[in-house]
Amino acid sequence: MNALFSQLVMLGSSGMLLTALIVLWRKSVPSYISAYRWQAWLLAAVTATVAYFAGDRQLFAVAAALVALKGFAIPALLRTMQQRFGAQPQIKPYVNTETSLCVAGLLVMFAYVLARPWMAVTHLPTRGGLPLAMALLFVSLFIIVSRRKAITQVIGFLMLENAIALLAVVGTYGVPLLVEVGVFLDALMGFLVMQIFVYHIHETFDTIDVEQLTHLRH
């Protein structure tokens, strides 16, 4: 029973990590949005798995909220954002795709090494997900610093938030519902603020390339 539990958690966490790698690999924003949606669904699935095996009813509510907010609402908002900008000229990231993927591999290795002492002291069946959640954290940070499109950076931030949620679920079987609701609201507010900010960048500079922000305007 426990073997199946840890196997499923590992599977879900690896899937979440893969969706972050898709953002490094693909070049179009719609594919990033669907990667984010997949990641949110997987996070909800991991949460529901932990809820089922740990017998925690509150976590089911968290999983449902995750599906509603991150599985439907935020991807829909992202899509309207993407449609408002229309077709953008291709903007090359600071780091090219091959290097990004290799760096991501190194970051994952780093996360594994970093999580070793933690995994040695904990005896939770979900501990296999810990290094993967840390890896997701690092890879999302890398997405934020290595991409130039504002919308990609926003997606990187949202993935970072997912990574922290995953870390909470696999590390401590989730935080209390009240805290979780607060985090959801924060994430949503943060996203809305960033959306307004990106719209302003677009209106002022006619592009969502953040490189433009470093130049003085005429």
Partner: protein, 313 residues
């Protein structure tokens, strides 16, 4: 003695089935694209026709050119006798493991690249250099996915890997298993010249890879090269199927088990080749300079597979 006989029969079955597999993928692709398509057994007619034709060899060609088709075909046949298809090869007369199988197939590729260079035609040289680029990039992925599988089972021999997965069914759902499978599948597409990397249905296109190397071949030589390529595709798909989803494979040499093994092999190959056909209908060929991106993605997958077995214990 019956073991030996079963292995010989298994190898012959693989050699006989290989053109049908290629034909099946072509037929399925044609149906998916709304064409009627040639029947799945069309490659048999092609091979028979090619064997009846005269071989034309360039004056500048050396012995490498004539030897290559035999090397390509015979390495594929030898590998077919090593890998688990219907039954897991075991016993004193089976010497090879996963490493031997993969690198014997690479030997054929190496000779094919040499033959492409040998006649001195511009297309052949281009094809050879491209093929070597792709192979060099798939190399780390192949080695890493082998290591991922071997780390789980504690051995690189096929029988051990299959036995390990059969003994622990939940391991087949493990992330390292699925990641290594995904990496090996991408490598399969690259090594056998399938679509995102190379277009198998083209014969004169500036971006071709495999076809550019074999452009100078004709008659029986071409038949051997094509048959060897089809066998290589079958071996890669069968490896992907039987190493990751080994259920159904014959463990004993009783006729019933062998029959079940054969049927399950055909079903698995049909599922995988349908996946290849659907994929080839959906995606366009990648630009040559974007191929490294795909292959580095597969490398990262394999790396993750190794890490989740090696560092997580």
């Amino acid at each position: 003695m019956s073991r030996f006989l079963a292995l010989v029969v298994q190898t012959l079955v693989a050699v006989a089935l290989a053109p049908a597999l290629t034909g099946f993928i072509r037929w399925l692709k044609a149906r998916l694209q709304g064409r009627r398509g040639a029947p799945p057994w069309q490659p048999y007619f092609e091979i028979r026709k090619l064997f009846g034709k005269e071989a034309v060899v360039s004056h500048t060609a050396s012995w490498i050119f004539t030897a290559t088709p035999f090397v390509v075909f015979s390495t594929a046949v030898v590998v077919a006798s090593l890998v688990p298809l219907v039954v897991v090869p075991s016993g004193p007369f089976v010497a090879g493991d996963l490493f031997a199988a993969v690198y014997l197939l690479l030997l054929g590729t190496f000779f094919l690249a040499l033959a492409g260079l040998d006649t001195g035609s511009p297309f052949g040289g281009m094809g050879a250099s491209r093929e070597m680029t792709v192979v060099a990039l798939t190399e780390p992925t192949v080695a890493l996915s082998i290591v991922a599988l071997a780390l789980n089972a504690g051995s690189t021999s096929f029988s051990q890997i299959v036995a390990h997965t059969l003994a622990e069914p939940s391991a087949a759902l493990g992330s390292e298993h699925l990641l290594a499978f995904a990496a090996l599948f991408i490598v399969t597409l690259a090594e056998t010249g399938r679509l995102p990397v190379d277009n198998p249905s083209t014969h004169l296109e500036l971006t071709m890879i495999h076809e550019a190397m074999v452009l100078e071949y004709s008659g029986p030589y071409l038949a051997l090269v094509e048959w060897g390529a089809a066998l290589k595709l079958l071996i890669f798909l069968a490896l992907a199927a039987n190493l990751f989803v080994p259920w159904g494979i014959a463990l004993s040499f009783s006729p019933v088990a062998l029959l079940i093994g054969l049927v399950s092999l055909i079903v698995k190959l049909a599922v995988l080749s349908a996946a290849v056909a659907v994929l080839e209908t959906r995606v366009a060929k990648l630009r040559l300079f974007r191929v490294p991106e795909l292959l580095s993605a597969s490398f990262v997958l394999a790396l993750l597979a190794v890490m989740s077995t090696f560092l997580a214990r």
